[in-house]
Symmetry: C2
Subunit: 308 residues, 2 copies
């Protein structure tokens, strides 16, 4: 049981979510800035109705370590902007070939493929500009450490590597000679999820701790929490994709039919159990944070029971 | 006339080029690292026989300010890795749709489009990991400043914005409603080149100065040099594309037929004159660097007379 009532968590998520949205609006160039089409495309995808999970985790972990939400907004927005860039590129015809996301046409459908590639690239670069802004409050050393960790977790060891493994897991064959489906499915899916989703989520949680100068014990706690939360989150995503209603998710359910997913590797019931176990482990990992970790604890509970 | 004999410059470029190539080999994950296909694709494009102009400029400007080449290798490699990422994405079917570059199949031809998008993304992220390594030698503040400047110059104000304007300059129409060819050609081409090419070249030159703690006067000199050199370089590229022999450039000459280029806007002879004027201005801007600027001076002369 979480110590934070669900009504209090809803208020927390709503107020912090507004902070993030306002900051994103300030940090992204206006649509009218020349050349307008690229800024329109960037804003179209950033303001497409995401849950803002990653920025929320940067904020919640910073607050758990005693810093106000406002101070970490540049880094919170940076991880959201990175998440958006990765979704734009994942949706491209050569990748997952998705026409809709959250009930709206994807970026390449709305603006064309060339602009979608470039909007992703521009958001990717913007993220590192935003991270650097944290220097004013937290100094250059901590800021640079966060910049380096984020860069590392979205490269081939992390997010991009996970997307590659995801494509290989579909059994695609590539001109370079690589052939997929060479590992047992449970191993593949765990590695894909750890890299593709959990790495950035773990780093988002860590970022709040690093910026605020958390002790090693607290940072280790945040790391363990973030990794388990990230994996549980993606498993729930897989489950919702199977059982969810199309309208709620805003994308075709079953669209991951070719992908390596937890329900396919472990079955639906066992997948739910694994997600629940990981959530419990994530919550237990928070112990060194004391009462400061209550919001993070509640977020984990909330993500396990969400229906979209 | 340059004070450095062309034989000495050739030696300089060869020794520094070897340093850069060795460092890139150390900094890029081995081809065997799992998942192998993405690391193969990254190395395929990074070691495709580029001139290493941008890393050379980081090194030459650092040396002009008194620091050894070895110290700036992480940042030198970062700008080369960024240049490579941008070429991979520019070559994609949805963009310039180029099948060959420097006489070899482009990344998406060799590895497929999905892997090419991801190899570009991975190199983009790797660049910011590499930049952060400069902290060990130059401290967090200067390193973070370089990181922020590089991020800014490859976003919509710089490189990505230039590529968007380049696409619009072809008169393409995009689903988002944007239509190209609304500006006079000479204005378009100058803005495209300043953003798409000169911004990163200018920042490469500045990076060497920022890391080594150059005075404002010297940094202003490097900035003026870098911007003019960057523009001259791209004009010469346009000219070589018109007159070059296919074998020398390793790509189809005239492949920029739809693009806004200097020869198309100003004619071939006037384009040569503009490039020569810019080179002279770049060289004159170096005066505050005294004899330290001789190599940068010689590089400008060399780029004006290259034939590939």
């Amino acid at each position: 049981m979480s110590l934070v009532a669900s009504q209090d968590l809803a208020t927390y998520l709503a107020t912090r979510g507004r902070l993030v949205d306002d900051a994103l609006d300030r940090f992204l160039p206006p649509e009218t800035t020349h050349p307008a089409i690229i800024h329109s495309a960037m804003r179209y995808s950033v303001f497409a109705g995401g849950k803002r999970l990653r920025p929320m985790l940067v904020i919640a972990s910073a607050e758990a370590c005693g810093a106000p939400a406002r101070d970490v907004l540049p880094v919170a927005c940076a991880v959201e902007v990175i998440n958006t860039y990765s979704l734009i590129h994942d949706d491209l015809p050569a990748m997952d070939n998705s026409d809709t996301r959250r009930g709206r046409p994807t970026c390449h459908i709305a603006f064309g493929e060339a602009i979608a590639v470039l909007a992703g690239d521009a958001l990717h670069a913007l993220a590192f500009e935003l991270i650097a802004r944290a220097e004013q409050t937290f100094g250059a050393e901590r800021t640079l450490r966060v910049s380096r960790e984020i860069a590392a977790c979205i490269g081939t060891e992390g997010m991009v590597g996970g997307q590659v493994l995801d494509l290989l897991g579909e059994g695609r064959t590539f001109p370079g000679g690589a052939r997929g489906k060479e590992q047992p499915l449970p191993d593949v899916v765990r590695e894909v999820h750890l890299r593709k989703t959990a790495a950035l989520i773990r780093t988002s949680v860590r970022a709040g701790g690093i910026l605020t100068g958390a002790t090693t014990a607290k940072l280790d706690a945040l790391t363990a929490y973030g990794e388990r939360l990230g994996l549980a989150y993606q498993i729930m995503d897989d489950i919702l994709d199977v059982v969810g209603e199309e309208a709620k998710l805003g994308k075709r359910t079953g669209s991951d039919a070719e992908k390596a997913t937890y329900p396919k590797a472990f079955g639906l019931e066992r997948s739910r159990e694994i997600a629940a176990e990981l959530t419990r482990e994530a919550q237990e990992a928070l112990r060194p944070l004391g009462s400061g970790g209550e919001i993070l604890h509640a977020i984990a509970a909330y993500l396990l029971t969400r229906d979209a």
